[in-house]
C-alpha cells in the first residue's frame, strides 16, 4: 500500500474517532449508534497499520488494487447504512404523525371546554 494512502487512512480513522466522540459528548447521538462509527474507525485503522494482511485479502478476492477494494467496501457499507437510516426515519415519521394527531385532537377538546 502506498505510504500516502496509509497516512490518509490513519488521519481519516482518527478524525472519525474524534468526531464520533465529540458528537457523543454533546449528546447528539445515542451510544448504540456510535458503536458502528467506532467500529468503522477501528477497521480503517487496522487496515492502515497492517496493510500486508489487507493486501492478501485484496489478492484473494480478486480486486485489482487495494484502493478499489476499500472503495468497494465503503460503498456497500454506506448503501446498507442509508437503508437503515431510511427505515429509522420512516419509523420516526410515523411516531411524529401519531403525536401531532393525538396532541391536536386533545388540544381541540381542551379548547372546547
Amino acid at each position: 500500500m502506498p505510504l500516502n494512502l496509509i497516512i490518509a487512512l490513519i488521519i481519516f480513522s482518527v478524525l472519525l474517532f474524534v468526531i464520533t466522540t465529540i458528537i457523543l459528548k454533546k449528546g447528539r447521538m445515542p451510544e448504540k449508534y456510535s458503536l458502528l462509527w467506532y467500529f468503522i474507525s477501528l477497521v480503517i485503522f487496522v487496515v492502515a497499520v497492517f496493510p500486508n494482511a489487507f493486501a492478501l485479502i485484496t489478492h484473494k478476492t480478486g480486486f485489482q488494487t487495494m484502493s478499489n477494494m476499500i472503495i468497494g467496501i465503503i460503498l456497500v457499507l454506506l448503501t446498507f447504512l442509508t437503508m437503515a437510516l431510511t427505515i429509522i426515519v420512516s419509523g420516526q415519521r410515523k411516531k411524529t404523525t401519531l403525536l401531532i394527531q393525538e396532541l391536536s385532537i386533545l388540544k381541540s377538546e381542551i379548547n372546547k371546554k
Partner: protein, 239 residues
C-alpha cells in the same frame, strides 16, 4: 346513524365557510344530519381563524401532515367519538353535499363498507379533471383490477364514505401518501364490501389542487408500486 363529514383543509380560507354553510343549510332542510370536523393542516392563511370565528368544529394540526395525516386525524376523531359513518369531504367546494346521502345509504343498508363517489361511472355532465389525470386514473384503475380482482373506476376520488369497522381500521393505519387508491386496495384485500356510486363534482371554486399536473407520472408510478406491495402482503380478512 351518527355520520361525520371529515373536511381536510389546507389554505382554504376562500372556500371553507361557503362549504360549511352549504352543509348547515342541508342539515336544516333534511332529516339526515351530518356532523362536521374540519382538519386544518397547519394552513398559512386564515382558515383556522375563519373556523373559530364561525363556530365551525375544527382541529388545528400542530404541524403540517399532508392529506393522509390530516384525513387520518379525522378518522381518529370519528372513532373516539363513536361515529357510525365517516365521509371524506373536500373543503374546496368540489364535493356536492346533496350526493352525500347517495354514498352513505349503501352503508346504512349494509350493502357496503366503503362507498366511493365516482366521477366516471355515468356520463353526468360535470367536472372531470384534466385528460392527463384521467389517463393516470385509468392506468391505476387497470392496475387495481389486476392486483385486487375488482374494478374500481375512480380510484383517486376523495369523496368516500365508510363504516364503523373501517373507521377503526383507518384510525389505526392510514398511508401518508396516495391514501385513496392504496386504502381502497387494502380494504378490498381485507374482504370488505366496496361500492362505487356516481356523483357530480364541481370545479374548485378557489385555491389550488394538491396534485400538480407535472406530478402525475410520479404519482402513478408510486401508486402502482404501493399496489404491488399490497398484493404481496397478507391481510387479516374481516369476515
Amino acid at each position: 346513524m351518527k355520520t361525520l363529514l371529515i373536511i381536510p383543509a389546507y389554505n382554504e380560507e376562500e372556500n371553507i365557510l361557503n362549504t360549511y354553510n352549504k352543509i348547515k343549510e342541508y342539515n336544516k332542510k333534511n332529516d339526515d344530519k351530518y356532523d362536521v370536523i374540519v382538519i386544518n393542516d397547519c394552513s398559512l392563511d386564515n382558515t383556522s381563524e375563519i373556523c373559530h370565528k364561525n363556530n365551525i368544529p375544527v382541529i388545528d394540526l400542530l404541524h403540517n401532515l399532508g392529506i393522509g395525516g390530516a384525513v387520518q386525524t379525522g378518522y381518529k376523531y370519528a372513532y373516539k367519538n363513536g361515529y357510525d359513518i365517516a365521509v371524506q369531504f373536500d373543503g374546496d367546494g368540489q364535493h356536492n353535499i346533496n350526493y352525500v346521502k347517495n354514498i352513505v345509504d349503501p352503508i346504512k343498508k349494509g350493502e357496503a363498507d366503503l362507498v366511493i363517489g365516482s366521477r366516471f361511472i355515468e356520463d353526468i355532465d360535470t367536472f372531470k379533471t384534466t385528460w392527463l389525470r384521467r389517463v393516470g386514473i385509468k392506468v391505476i384503475s387497470c392496475f387495481m383490477k389486476v392486483i385486487t380482482g375488482k374494478k374500481i373506476i375512480d380510484t383517486t376520488s376523495g369523496f368516500r364514505a365508510c363504516s364503523k369497522e373501517i373507521i377503526k381500521d383507518f384510525s389505526i393505519s392510514y398511508p401518508p401518501e396516495y391514501p385513496e387508491p392504496v386504502t381502497t386496495a387494502e380494504i378490498i384485500r381485507k374482504d370488505y364490501k366496496v361500492k362505487e356510486i356516481p356523483v357530480e363534482m364541481n370545479e374548485r371554486t378557489a385555491g389550488v389542487s394538491s396534485i400538480g399536473s407535472w406530478k402525475n407520472a410520479y404519482y402513478m408510478i408510486n401508486v402502482c408500486l404501493s399496489l404491488l406491495v399490497i398484493r404481496m402482503r397478507r391481510y387479516k380478512k374481516c369476515r
